[in-house]
C-alpha cells in the first residue's frame, strides 16, 4: 500500500512537472494568439500584463519578459496621448533588462531595444532624432551582428524609412531594399520553437505590396504623360 502511495505521489510529481511545462507553453501560446487580434492600447497593455505575470511566476524564462516588453512598446505606438507614451517605454526597457539578464546577447532583445528607441523618437521627433535615431541604429546593428538571419532589424528599419519623409532620406524607394532583404530572411527562417518570435512577415508583405502598387501607379502616370499630345 505504501508503495502504491509512493507511486501515486511520484506519478503526481512527474505529472506536475510536465503539467507545469505544458502549462507554461499553453499559457504562452494562448497569449501569443491574443496578440494577433490586438489593436488598441488597452488590449496591448492587457497582453503585456499577462506575459509579465507568466515571466514573474516562471522567473527563469526570457521570452515572457520579451513579449511583455513588445506589447508595452506596441501600446506606446498606439496610445494617442503623447504624455503617456514614454511610460510604456520605461516599462519596456525594464522588462528587456530582465530578459537580457536571463538571455544575454540575444538578437531579438536588441531588435526590440531598437524598436523602443524608434518609439521614443516618435514622441518628440524634433528634439529626439539625434539621440534616439543613433540609439536605434546601434541596437539594430548589434542585433544583426548577433544573428544575421534575424529578419526583424531590417523589417523595423524599413518600416521606419517607409514612413519617414523623402527629405529625411526616407520614402518607399529607400525602404524597399531593406524590406525585400527582410522578406528574404523571413522566407529562409526555420521555426525552431513555436514560442520564439516570428512576428513581422505579413506586415513586410503588406508594405511591399503597397510599394508595388505605388510603383505601378507612377509608371502609369509617366506613360500617360509621355503619350499626352501637349508634351
Amino acid at each position: 500500500m505504501k508503495n502504491l502511495l509512493l507511486l501515486l505521489l511520484m506519478f503526481g510529481f512527474v505529472y506536475s512537472i510536465t503539467a507545469d511545462d505544458s502549462k507554461y507553453e499553453k499559457a504562452m501560446k494562448k497569449t501569443l494568439e491574443l496578440m494577433d487580434s490586438a489593436k488598441d492600447v488597452q488590449t496591448y497593455v492587457d497582453i503585456a500584463n499577462k506575459f509579465e505575470r507568466i515571466a514573474l511566476a516562471e522567473n527563469d524564462k526570457w521570452l515572457p519578459y520579451y513579449y511583455s516588453a513588445l506589447n508595452q512598446t506596441l501600446a506606446s505606438f498606439s496610445d494617442p496621448e503623447l504624455s503617456r507614451k514614454d511610460s510604456y517605454l520605461d516599462k519596456a526597457v525594464k522588462l528587456l533588462e530582465a530578459a537580457d539578464s536571463l538571455q544575454p546577447d540575444e538578437s531579438e532583445i536588441y531588435t526590440l531595444l531598437g524598436m523602443v528607441a524608434q518609439a521614443r523618437l516618435q514622441v518628440d521627433p524634433m528634439n529626439r532624432w539625434a539621440k534616439y535615431g543613433a540609439e536605434s541604429n546601434a541596437n539594430f546593428k548589434k542585433a544583426k551582428e548577433l544573428d544575421p538571419s534575424n529578419p526583424r532589424p531590417e523589417y523595423l528599419m524599413g518600416l521606419n524609412l517607409y514612413y519617414t519623409p523623402v527629405q529625411f532620406g526616407g520614402g518607399s524607394k529607400a525602404a524597399k531594399p531593406l524590406l525585400e532583404k527582410s522578406l528574404q530572411k523571413f522566407e529562409q527562417f526555420e521555426k525552431s520553437d513555436d514560442l520564439m518570435p516570428h512576428w513581422g512577415q505579413t506586415e513586410v508583405e503588406r508594405i511591399l505590396n503597397e510599394i508595388k502598387d505605388l510603383e505601378a501607379k507612377e509608371l502609369e502616370a509617366e506613360e500617360s504623360e509621355e503619350l499626352s499630345p501637349e508634351k
Binding site: L8, S83, N127, K131, E135, A138, P153, Q167
Partner: protein
C-alpha cells in the same frame, strides 16, 4: 488507507474551487488607474485593471497567497490574502514611485536644459536653435534675468557685471569662456552647444558646489560617449570646418577643426569699423570618452584656438586721428575627468583642467601682453542617504598665474585658491525638499577665509507647480586689475534672496521669480579722475556696495498651436551700485529697468524646415556724460531687434544635411547701445552695432559611415 487515497485523489477537486478577487485601484489623488497588473504572486492568475480602475478575476489557488499590484511609475503593492473560496474585495491605493514620477525639484534661480530629466524648462536643442550662430550665451539672453548688452560679450545677470558670472564645464571653472574681443564689438562663446547634454543656468542662489561668482553660474555637462561614427562637414559664409567622430563599443573619439575668415563677409556686409585685418583664426578640439565600467566614464577634452585681427579706431580725443588696434590670441584648454558610481550609493567625481591664454595687443605703438593660466583640480563625492536624499561634499584647488605687460613694464600675480563644500539634498516628502550647503574658501593673495552658507527650499503645490525659496551668500575675489595695485582687499560679497513660483506642465511652463540681491565689499579704485566733478581719484578699497531687486517672468507654450513653440521673457530690474571707478551710487551702465524677449519657433513638416524668430526689447541704459552734473544721469535709446533664422533639413548625396541662415535686425532698427564722450565732454559719439543687419549662412553635412541603412 483507502480514505487517504480517496482524499489524495479528491484533493485536486477540492483545490479547484475558485476564489473571486475583485476591487478597484486608485492613485493617491483618488484617480482610477487603468492598466495596472493585478495578480497572485508566483502564479499566472491575474488581470489588468479597467478604465475605471476596477478589476475582477478568479483563482484556483488555495490557502496563503500574496496579491500583487504593479504599475509603471508606482511602488508595487503587496498584500497577504487567504484563499478559501470566499470572495475578496479590495480598494487599493498605489503610491507614486518618487524616483520615477514627479517629485519636487530644487530649482529656485535656475533654468535647466536636459534631455534626460523630466520637468525642465529647456531642451538642449533649444540652446542650439534659439540663439544666433549656435552661441549658448545668445540663447541665454532670451531668458529672464539677463540684460541685452550689444556692445560687449558676457552674462549680465540681475544688475550684475559680466565678471560676476562664472562658466563651469564638467564641474570646473573656465577661465576664458569667450573669445578675445575688441572694444565695442562683442565676441562669441568658445564652446559649441553640441558638446553638452545638460545646461543649468542659475540667475541666483546656486549650489555650494560652485563659488567665485556674485551673480550667476552657467553649469555645463558634456555629453557621454558619442552615439555613432560620423564625419561632418560644415560650410559657412565665415569659414569652414570638419569633424570626425569614431565610436567603438566602450569608447569614442571626436576631432574637430575649423578655419574662419571674415574678410569676404566684410566685403559684402558693410561694417562701421575700419578693419585693417578682418578676424581670421583656427579652432580645433579633441574629445575622448571611455566607459571604464557599467557606470564609470573617463572624459578628456582639449582645444586650441588662435585668432588674429586689427582695425583702426577713431581717437575721440583727437578728431580725425585714428588709433590702430590689433589682437592676436592663443588659447589652450584641457579638461580631464572621471566619474564612477561605487556600490549602491556612492558617486565619485575627480577632475583636473588647465588653460592657457595669451593675448598680444597692439595699440598704436604700444604693446600689451596678457598671459593667464589656470590649473585646477576638483573632487566631488556624493553619498545617497535614502531613495532621494543625498549628501555631496568635496573640494577644489585653483592656481592662477597672471603675467601682464605694457611695453617694458610688467606685473604678475600668483594666486592659489582653495575651497571645500558640503551640501545635503533632503527630501522630507515628495512635496517638500531642501538643499542646505556650506562653502568655505581661501585665497592666498587676500590671505583670508570666507564661509558661504546656501539654502534652497522647494514645496510642491500640485502635480506640476511648486514654490521655491533660496538664500545664499556668495563671495568673489576682486579682479586682478585691483590686486595689481594692492592685495589688501577682502572678498566682494553678495547675498541673494529669491522667491519663485513655477508651473512646468508637459507642454507649458510658467515661472515667476522675485529677488533681492545685496552687494557689499565691492572692490573700488581708479587712477583716473572725473574732471567735471572735481573729485579726487577713487580710492582702492572694499567700500563698494549696491543692491538689485526685480521680477523675472517666463512663459512657454508648446501646446496651443501645432508645431509651434514660443516663449516670452520679461524682466523688471531696479539696481544701484557704487563700485569700480564710480564716485557714488548709481544705476550702472550695464543695466536697464525693462527687458523683454519673445521667441517664436515653428516647424513645417512638409518642407522639413524649422523657423525661429526672436524679438528683443529693452529700455535705454545709463551712459556717462561728463557734461551732466548727475553721474550716469543720461539714458540711452530703447533697443529693438527682430531676428529671424531657419534650418532646412534635407539629404545631399545620401548624407543628412542641414542648411541654415539667420538675419539679425530684419526690420533695420537704428540701435544705439550707448554714447562715448571725449575727455573734455565736447565730442559725443554713439556706440552702434558693427552693421545695421548681420547675416549668417551655412550648411552642415553629416556623413554617417556606420549608417545601417546602407
Amino acid at each position: 488507507m483507502l480514505k487517504l487515497i480517496c482524499s489524495i485523489l479528491l484533493l485536486p477537486i477540492l483545490l479547484s474551487a475558485q476564489t473571486k478577487i475583485s476591487g478597484s485601484i486608485f492613485d493617491s489623488g483618488n484617480q482610477p488607474l487603468p492598466g495596472a497588473n493585478v495578480f497572485i504572486k508566483d502564479t499566472y492568475d491575474g488581470v489588468s485593471s479597467n478604465q475605471d480602475g476596477s478589476f475582477s478575476f478568479e483563482t484556483e489557488e488555495k490557502g496563503e497567497a500574496v496579491l500583487v499590484v504593479s504599475f509603471v511609475g508606482y511602488n508595487n503593492y503587496e498584500k497577504s490574502i487567504y484563499l478559501d473560496g470566499t470572495p475578496i474585495n479590495l480598494e487599493i491605493i498605489l503610491e507614486d514611485n518618487t524616483k520615477e514620477l514627479r517629485t519636487v525639484v530644487i530649482s529656485a534661480g535656475a533654468f535647466e536644459a536636459s534631455d534626460e530629466k523630466k520637468g525642465v524648462i529647456l531642451r538642449p536643442l533649444d540652446v542650439l536653435t534659439t540663439g544666433s550662430e549656435a552661441d549658448i550665451y545668445s540663447t541665454l539672453e532670451t531668458l529672464p534675468g539677463t540684460q541685452q548688452i550689444g556692445e560687449t560679450e558676457g552674462l549680465f545677470v540681475r544688475g550684475g557685471a559680466a565678471s560676476e558670472a562664472v562658466t563651469i564645464v564638467d564641474e570646473m571653472v573656465v577661465q576664458k569662456p569667450f573669445y578675445t574681443s575688441v572694444p565695442d564689438i562683442p565676441s562669441r562663446g568658445r564652446f559649441s552647444p553640441m558638446l553638452f547634454k545638460g545646461t543649468i543656468f542659475s540667475t541666483g542662489g546656486y549650489s555650494a558646489q560652485y563659488g567665485q561668482a556674485l551673480s550667476s553660474a552657467l553649469i555645463l555637462r558634456t555629453t557621454d560617449l558619442a552615439e555613432e561614427t560620423t564625419t561632418a562637414l560644415n560650410f559657412m559664409a565665415l569659414g569652414l570646418g570638419a569633424a570626425h567622430t569614431h565610436r567603438w563599443e566602450n569608447s569614442s573619439v571626436a576631432v574637430e577643426g575649423g578655419y574662419y575668415n571674415l574678410a569676404p563677409y566684410f566685403n559684402v556686409v558693410e561694417q562701421n569699423s575700419d578693419w585693417e585685418k578682418a578676424p581670421v583664426g583656427i579652432e580645433s578640439s579633441f574629445n575622448y570618452r571611455v566607459k571604464t565600467s557599467e557606470t564609470g566614464i573617463v572624459k578628456a577634452f582639449g582645444s586650441y584656438s588662435y585668432g588674429d585681427l586689427s582695425l583702426n579706431m577713431e581717437d575721440i580725443d583727437n578728431p580725425g586721428n585714428k588709433t590702430s588696434f590689433g589682437i592676436r590670441s592663443d588659447n589652450y584648454y584641457v579638461n580631464l575627468n572621471y566619474r564612477e558610481i561605487l556600490g549602491d550609493d556612492w558617486t565619485i567625481f575627480t577632475g583636473a583642467s588647465f588653460s592657457y591664454d595669451l593675448d598680444k595687443i597692439n595699440i598704436s605703438a604700444d604693446k600689451v601682453k596678457q598671459d593667464e593660466q589656470l590649473a585646477q583640480t576638483k573632487v566631488t563625492v556624493t553619498k545617497g542617504i535614502t531613495d532621494n536624499s543625498f549628501l555631496t561634499f568635496g573640494g577644489e584647488i585653483h592656481n592662477s598665474i597672471y603675467n601682464d605687460s605694457f611695453n617694458n613694464l610688467s606685473a604678475g600675480l600668483n594666486e592659489v585658491y582653495t575651497a571645500g563644500f558640503v551640501e545635503a539634498d533632503i527630501f522630507f516628502t515628495n512635496d517638500i525638499a531642501a538643499r542646505v550647503g556650506l562653502r568655505g574658501e581661501n585665497s592666498k593673495l587676500l590671505n583670508k577665509l570666507n564661509l558661504a552658507p546656501r539654502i534652497s527650499l522647494a514645496y510642491r503645490l500640485g502635480k506640476y507647480d511648486q514654490l521655491n525659496f533660496a538664500y545664499g551668500k556668495f563671495y568673489q575675489t576682486p579682479h586682478k586689475d585691483y590686486l595689481y595695485y594692492s592685495t589688501d582687499y577682502d572678498y566682494e560679497n553678495a547675498e541673494h534672496y529669491i522667491v519663485n513660483y513655477q508651473l512646468i506642465g508637459p507642454q507649458r511652463t510658467f515661472r515667476i521669480e522675485l529677488y533681492y540681491k545685496d552687494y557689499s565689499n565691492l572692490a573700488k579704485g581708479s587712477t583716473q579722475t572725473y574732471p567735471v566733478y572735481n573729485l579726487p581719484p577713487v580710492q582702492f578699497n572694499n567700500d563698494g556696495k549696491g543692491y538689485a531687486k526685480g521680477i523675472d517672468i517666463f512663459w512657454r507654450d508648446q501646446e496651443t498651436i501645432d508645431y509651434v513653440d514660443y516663449w516670452i521673457s520679461y524682466s523688471y530690474l531696479d539696481t544701484k551700485r557704487d563700485f569700480s571707478n564710480y564716485p557714488q551710487m548709481a544705476f550702472p551702465t550695464f543695466a536697464t529697468p525693462h527687458t523683454l524677449s519673445f521667441v517664436f519657433k515653428f516647424w513645417v513638416p512638409s518642407i522639413t524646415t524649422y523657423f525661429a524668430t526672436t524679438y528683443s526689447f529693452s529700455t535705454g541704459r545709463p551712459y556717462f556724460n561728463p557734461n551732466n552734473p548727475e553721474f550716469l544721469g543720461d539714458r540711452g535709446k530703447n533697443y529693438n531687434n527682430l531676428s529671424f533664422n531657419f534650418s532646412h533639413i534635407t539629404t545631399i548625396f545620401n548624407s543628412f544635411t542641414v542648411i541654415f541662415a539667420s538675419i539679425d535686425n530684419v526690420l533695420g532698427f537704428r540701435n544705439i547701445y550707448s554714447y562715448r564722450y571725449s575727455w573734455d565732454g565736447a565730442i559725443k559719439r554713439p556706440v552702434v552695432p558693427e552693421s545695421l543687419r548681420s547675416f549668417f549662412i551655412g550648411c552642415f553635412i553629416s556623413i554617417g559611415e556606420d549608417n545601417p541603412y546602407n
